[in-house]
């Protein structure tokens, strides 16, 4: 009777007699079907369409002929678009560094010094996310404007500059960095720092040799979580850059919308994804390192 289970996996049949404890899944595998179907339709499906588009040729406005043409990818290699790729990655890298500089100290302070007020601080960080992305960006425009508070009182006129775009990026993506860093800092055992101090480590070397390595996975997660969407940014450069700072996202949008040329837009999008996959590989390497050496 015991051998006659509903899921006759090899482990179940062989270990059924000898061992009481079973490692077989507690729930049937088909429960994963809804989310699997969702992924297949909305991620794999959409991606496949994008790939098919990118190898197609445009025959009219929003009319394409499927095939295997590398023409669109050749166009992507035009200096104009390579330049925009480079600028996008540079702006996103700059934005990520600024986010780290602003976000890490905040997360550190929250995790180490706030005690029971941590949750309130966390809430305050998340609250801006309840407002629409677009409205937050427009709100920032009021502050940064040449006739706005910052320019009038402090005489810092940043509107329509690379700095305005950078500030917009940091403001909009900051919580995405703080949250993972905060959670890894919060799990950290602070007695390790005391031990480092006892072993005569100066505060900075204690941070460098203990805190930073222990929070590296959260750090990398947070950095990638802000860097990758920043490379696809579309709205912030349009609003705060006055249309002068073209991100590759803007070019992709133009290809789909005004040029009605899905093949070229798709080729650009796929190229961006390939470029970004390098960073995802870095993430996987760091994440698996954590599994090997983590507690």
């Amino acid at each position: 009777m015991t051998v006659d289970t509903a899921v006759p996996t090899p482990e179940a049949t062989t270990s059924g007699v000898g061992r009481r404890r079973s490692f077989k899944p507690r729930y049937p595998a088909w429960l994963a079907l809804p989310s699997l179907a969702y992924q297949i339709i909305f991620f794999i499906g959409a991606m496949s369409i994008l790939v098919a588009f990118s190898f197609a040729t445009q025959t009219g406005f929003n009319q394409i002929t499927y095939g295997f043409s590398l023409e669109q990818y050749k166009q992507v290699l035009d200096p104009t678009y390579l330049g925009i790729f480079a600028r996008t990655l540079a702006m996103a890298a700059g934005g990520t560094i600024l986010t780290i500089l602003v976000g890490y100290p905040v997360a550190y302070w929250m995790a180490r010094y706030l005690g029971n007020n941590k949750l309130i601080a966390l809430l305050l960080i998340i609250v801006p996310f309840w407002t629409s992305f677009l409205i937050r960006t427009y709100a920032l425009k009021i502050i940064l404007d040449s006739h706005g508070y910052l320019a009038q009182t402090l005489h810092v006129d940043l509107m329509y500059s690379a700095w305005a775009v950078g500030i917009g990026l940091v403001y909009n993506y900051l919580p995405l960095f703080i949250l993972p860093v905060f959670s890894s800092l919060e799990r950290m055992d602070w007695t390790l720092i005391e031990a480092a101090n006892d072993l005569s480590a100066k505060p900075f070397s204690a941070f460098r040799q203990v805190t930073l390595p222990l929070t590296l996975p959260g750090f990398v997660t947070g950095a990638l979580l802000v860097f990758i969407p920043m490379t696809g940014e579309y709205v912030i450069p349009a609003i705060l850059g006055g249309g002068k700072f073209v991100f590759i996202g803007n070019v992709i949008g133009d290809a789909f919308n005004s040029a009605q040329n899905p093949p070229f837009g798709s080729a650009l999008a796929i190229s961006l994804m390939l470029a970004l996959s390098v960073f995802v590989v870095i993430y996987i390497l760091v994440a698996t390192k954590e599994e090997r050496f983590g507690s």
């Binding site: 991620f43 992305f133 677009l134 006739h147 700072f245």
Partner: protein
């Protein structure tokens, strides 16, 4: 009548983002206390859509435009409708709030319409893409549509418009002659002009004291005055490149490489003089006096000048020489189920008394001299509303001639923007 304009909010956006856009519009308007114009709403809507779909990159690929490959319905009409009875129904597909409510009521009060018992049913679209998608899907059953010039050209090419029976539209004689045959409808048999707008520029006359008259003057002034304040050119590949071509006196719809090279030269030369490249929210900034030199659409510039009335520091110019004109038109789909009623509708809208009410309602000029003459001075004598025909005769409709032309425009536009 036109006094209600300051409190009026008219936004056109894809229907599914309407709640979101409404909220955004209120926020933005409250911040500055200004309404949003028809064309601004379009670009703002596009921005919002992309903002929403930024995460799901796949959604953008569902082609909305003219994807229909030679739909079965292809008759161009042309058969005479004279003598046929007026149908009891009229199905209108229109931009929302684009016609005065009294126009519908008074149309139904005409004796022959009352006799036929014609009922009007109206549904709305918010972009030409949406209209084209519905038309391509086929079997939409509309009698009246209101496409912009590009969409007229595309529908005409796909044989989706009915050749109008002009014997049923005698009032077309009221329409100014230069709006009958156009580059998007060369024979003038498939559309009747509904209203139009133009592109010009404005400047702060306390800073720029020289006289700027042509679009070329505008471009040349950009590098000269950029150190004095913010300058702006209208965004979009279909604006940036054709407007530069027009400034050079070239064909806005050219496909010649040497023309594009000349436009690119001009654009790159004046690029250091450009502070911003926006089309969605320049009206508020200009009304607040933040832009010293910029391109603008006539209706928007009219609002800017009105907003700066107290200071009187903004001069708006309808350029002499070449510039852009756009127009929305009345058209009848080739498979319209109630074509006679549709012809009567168009004829009704070509009546001067109706056109007067229409213009007072939507504030876009209708090319009908006899109607414009009856308007109050605040509209009739404002060249930003009543753009003189002597000027518009030189203006050109910008069309999406072919994918190749659009691609060339987009490439130059991208280079122009990236050269910061």
């Amino acid at each position: 009548m036109s006094q209600k304009e300051p409190n009026q909010i008219r936004i056109l956006a894809p229907r599914d983002v309407k709640p979101k856009l409404d909220y955004l519009a209120r926020e933005v308007q409250e911040a500055v206390g200004q309404p949003i114009s028809r064309r601004q709403a379009l670009s703002l809507g596009g921005l919002a859509v992309l903002g929403l779909s930024a995460a799901a990159c796949g959604t953008a690929s569902t082609g909305t435009g003219g994807g229909g490959s030679a739909a079965p319905s292809g008759s161009t009409g042309g058969t005479s409708l004279a003598g046929k009875p007026i149908e009891n129904m009229l199905e209108i597909f229109n931009w929302s709030e684009y016609d005065d409510p009294s126009t519908y009521e008074n149309f139904k009060k005409q004796s022959e319409i009352t006799a036929a018992g014609t009922q009007i049913h109206e549904t709305y679209y918010s972009s030409n893409d949406e209209l084209l998608a519905k038309m391509n899907a086929g079997g939409a059953g509309y009698d009246i549509i209101v496409p912009t010039q590009n969409a007229v050209a595309q529908l005409l090419q796909e044989n989706k418009l009915m050749k109008l029976d002009m014997s049923l539209i005698p009032n077309i004689s009221n329409i100014n002659a230069s709006f009958l045959k156009t580059n998007f409808d060369p024979t003038g048999e498939y559309h009747v002009a509904k209203d139009f707008g133009t592109t010009g520029f404005y400047y702060n006359n306390t800073i720029i004291t020289e006289k700027l008259e042509t679009m070329m003057d505008f471009y040349n002034a950009l590098p000269k005055y950029v150190s004095k304040g913010r300058t702006n050119v209208l965004d979009g590949a279909e604006e940036v490149v054709p407007l530069a071509l027009l400034a050079l006196g070239l064909d806005a719809n050219t496909d010649k490489d040497e023309d594009f090279a000349a436009a690119k030269d001009l654009l790159m030369k004046i690029r250091p003089g450009v502070t911003t490249i926006v089309a969605s929210d320049y009206i508020n900034d200009a009304s607040a006096g933040k832009i010293i030199l910029g391109q603008g659409w006539n209706g928007d510039m009219r609002r800017i000048v009105q907003a700066r009335k107290a200071q009187g520091d903004i001069t708006a110019i309808n350029p002499t020489g070449k510039s852009e004109i756009w127009a929305d038109s009345w058209c009848i789909p080739s498979d319209a189920p109630h074509p006679v009623a549709a012809h009567h509708w168009i004829n009704w809208l070509c009546t001067p008394t109706v056109a007067v009410k229409e213009m007072e309602y939507h504030n876009y000029p209708i090319p009908m001299q006899s109607a414009i003459d009856q308007l109050g001075p605040e509209l009739k004598d404002d060249p930003l509303f009543n753009v003189p025909t002597s000027l518009t005769d030189n203006y050109e409709y910008i069309l999406n001639v072919s994918p190749e032309v659009v691609q060339k425009r987009t490439k130059i536009y991208t280079d122009f923007k990236a050269a910061g």
